[in-house]
Symmetry: C2
Subunit: 186 residues, 2 copies
């Protein structure tokens, strides 16, 4: 219903196009997986012509990499926010519990995307910087409140518990998570 979308064939000077394509790419990956992600499906999801794909991005892999980079940056930003808000160590501990049991368990879409990212990075080593950059930011956020070693262990636990909770719904309850975090940060 916007002025831009209503007029047909009038697509020039659409400054958000590149961004929209990247978001559409994440949407397609979330539903179809990387293996089902094609130029045509992305173009349809973003409502842009097929020609825009090769015009804005060098290749499909280039586009996928940029999409994953955006995903990790958004997640890292929220992650950092959560720990920036915490004023005491106890609040930080509760934030960890929240991340394990709240966030990821709720949004199936995000977890699916993260798992697709892992698989993609595992087989495309040149994109490993996406992962290392993300991990560095997470670690940094945790180190606001915990020692490097403890931060590393919390980070790993968040990773594993999120995945397990995703695969097996009643995996780790909130009180169980609270106990685990208490042990690791004692």
């Amino acid at each position: 219903m916007t002025a831009d979308k209503s007029s047909s064939g009038n697509r020039r000077y659409d400054p958000d196009r590149k961004e929209r394509i990247i978001e559409a790419t994440l949407e397609v990956i979330a539903v179809q997986g990387v293996s089902g992600t094609t130029h045509r499906r992305i173009a349809e999801a973003a409502d842009v012509p097929l020609g825009s794909m090769t015009y804005h991005f060098a290749s499909l892999d280039d586009l996928i990499e940029q999409a994953f980079l955006k995903l990790t940056q958004e997640i890292a930003h929220h992650f950092d926010d959560a720990f920036r808000k915490a004023q005491t160590v106890d609040e930080a501990r509760e934030a960890v519990v929240e991340v394990i049991c709240g966030w990821f368990a709720v949004t199936e879409r995000k977890m699916t995307l993260i798992l697709e990212l892992y698989a993609y990075v595992a087989r495309n080593p040149q994109t490993r910087h996406v992962m290392t950059g993300w991990m560095a930011k997470s670690r940094q956020a945790l180190e606001r409140h915990f020692s490097p070693d403890v931060a590393a262990s919390l980070d790993a636990m968040i990773e594993g518990a999120s995945i397990h909770n995703f695969m097996h719904p009643d995996g780790i309850s909130r009180e169980a998570a609270r106990l685990i975090v208490a042990k690791l940060t004692a």
Copy 2:
């Protein structure tokens, strides 16, 4: 150089064929990812004709699922062995450390396959039983030595630490792992 392979065109009564195709499938997934796994590539890797693919397996997805099932069963078997050997709680603790820092970190192939499996299951819910079955066996192995709650936390930590060590080589050292396990099992 085997009698079977030397003779050309003589491929009848090859009872290991189906098994060999499944193994070849894992090999292709490890190198190319699920997105690059095709009937033709698997057939070449297994040294069987293309026609054998649709003859032995209903579809490509059917084959991939069977391959992943085999993967998890093998891993679960080794996992169970490691904890069956442990006689004391301390030996069991050390086994956990070994799993985190030894196994997976070493074999890049296996970790890649596991990550491909996660992504595949996330977007193919009908294959979730492969994951839940595997997790149940792991949990069972850990519960030989630890309480259910502790076993769950160890399982999650193994998961997360393995992934982090894979993505970031100098992630968690052996002594760091030892300390974490001690905390979780205290």
